[in-house]
Symmetry: C2
Subunit: 323 residues, 2 copies
């Protein structure tokens, strides 16, 4: 597949999605202050961000509303308390996990909702359920994407079949998701080419959601972009599970479209992200995440290890190898 | 130029150079403890590192020996106090800056030295002086490289001429040096192809020295590698001026040659690098370095800003734009 775009011009098909609340919420159980969320919304609008993801549509049957902040559930009222009718150019998205939400009841008709896009997150072995959710959200009137997670551990033949299944579904877009931060740019380019083939065959767009275990989230995001991927996830100061994501400040610094503005992002980081970090929220590149990423493992062991503030990296590595 | 190597096999032409003392010394004026240096030497030998750079051969006339640690000057005795006759498979390098060293007297004949390689660091406008230094070191019996710095700010026609000049010199290798951390992988691949043309024409090797201003030091290093670049600079925990360099732990985690061993690197980081960081040495990716990198500026303004522990990123950015 040929390179798309270059370093001098702007591509009109690029969309930036701020996933700070959704992936960052995995760090602090979605316990953000209202002030933080209001400031983030205003910042994203000013910065020219295309989509802001407010969080998950998780099942209130399965998850205790007292143990998580409201953005794990994203009720219509809670979003509207921040955005009103969202009189801005920015769209609003939520994520719904296969098997962890009551989508039939909790996702209402688009005509009654301020949400624009539903992103269905699935593992490759859950594809039939994902397709059900995609069709449900599409029928209700939403833009819909399918985010196939943990693909660095999926078999290629399964991935091909999964792409074909989403291709034939009503989904508008498909995301490359490097959940473990295990993939190198070379692999991302090759995956992007494969996803783009499906995209061109079925008239869909491709997105990318990267993790920073090996300090490659930004690099992998822009390398995928150059292969035609157009929906780009980023988070403020890279806040997200474990090593975090592609940093918004890096991505906005890279993109050439004059609609994007790094200045409000910098203001938000100094006013909101630094206090959040100082209050004890822990994320970002660190040796334990590099090690799980390199070994293509879920970051959970590294997250536990980091929480204990351990620094016996060599022993941790031996433990990982012993698993 | 075709891709060289792949993600499954090991390339026998790869050489890893540990530049922790040399580039890291720019953080703490080369004030490392003897224990640190001894431990680093043992670590590098155990980890299978190919070259260890001890520091600079700076002029004692120009620089006050009381203001800098001994590794800014790298006397033969000081290196031998650590390595003896260096009975290991690892080679030893030093860097000599054009215009900041007394190379005629301070670089002695190779037969009397434990140093194996001299790396001549130059700006593109100093090439004639660099060539003199290269020929001097080569006549004395050393392996010699030419490290052309700050190339993100050099005119392409000047760079082409500089490459031709080094090509015709006795230098064994030429380094791509992204001093400002300003270059994206796409640009690095294109530079690597250009340098490799010279390498193939004149029988030299190409190296890369990256900076991490935009979290791209590791990505740029492995992307250059895939284009045929073979001498790879890295530093422990990425210690180096400003945003630092390609992290050794990332690079060793990536390379497939079984001679490389990440375990002693992890031990060294927990035993030596963490205490060094806790003692107040400051380096590594941070917003101010991203901003100078993005603007293709020398990191000095960001270094000063970071030293003052300021966090008014938006104002700092405005200041940079106003320069």
């Amino acid at each position: 597949m040929a390179q798309k775009g270059d370093l001098m011009t702007a591509r009109s098909d690029i969309r930036v999605l701020d996933a700070t609340i959704r992936d960052g919420g995995l760090v602090n159980n979605f316990m953000f202050s209202d002030e933080f969320i209001n400031a983030l919304y205003r910042t994203n609008v000013k910065a020219g961000i295309d989509y802001m993801e407010f969080g998950y549509k998780a099942s209130k049957e399965m998850f205790d509303v007292n143990k998580f902040g409201k953005w794990k559930f994203c009720s219509e009222e809670d979003i509207r308390a921040v955005v009103g009718d969202n009189n801005s150019d920015m769209k609003i998205s939520v994520m719904a996990d296969v098997g962890r939400c009551d989508y039939k009841t909790d996702i209402i008709d688009k005509k009654d909702s301020v949400i624009d896009m539903v992103r269905v997150a699935t593992y490759v072995h859950q594809m039939p359920s994902a397709i059900h959710m995609i069709e449900d959200a599409k029928e209700k009137g939403y833009e819909v994407t399918c985010n196939i997670m943990a693909i660095s551990n999926a078999r290629e033949s399964d991935m091909e079949q999964a792409l074909e299944m989403v291709g034939q579904s009503s989904a508008d877009g498909i995301y490359i998701v490097d959940s473990y931060g295990a993939l190198y740019p070379e692999q991302i380019r090759s995956l992007a080419d494969k996803y783009m083939e499906t995209a061109e065959k079925y008239g869909k767009f491709i997105g990318i959601h990267a993790h920073n275990n090996q300090q490659l989230a930004f690099a992998n995001t822009i390398e995928a972009t150059a292969r035609g991927v157009s929906f780009l996830d980023a988070t403020m100061m890279s806040m997200g599970r474990g090593a975090g994501n592609c940093a918004m400040e890096l991505l906005i610094g890279f993109l050439k479209n004059p609609k994007y503005n790094i200045f409000p992002v910098l203001k938000f980081i100094e006013n909101q992200m630094l206090p959040l970090k100082e209050s004890g929220a822990v994320w970002g590149y660190d040796i334990p995440y590099l090690l799980t990423g390199r070994l293509n493992q879920h970051p959970s062991a590294a997250i536990d290890y980091t929480k204990e503030a351990r620094t016996d990296y060599a022993d941790f590595y031996t433990d990982l190898l012993d698993k």
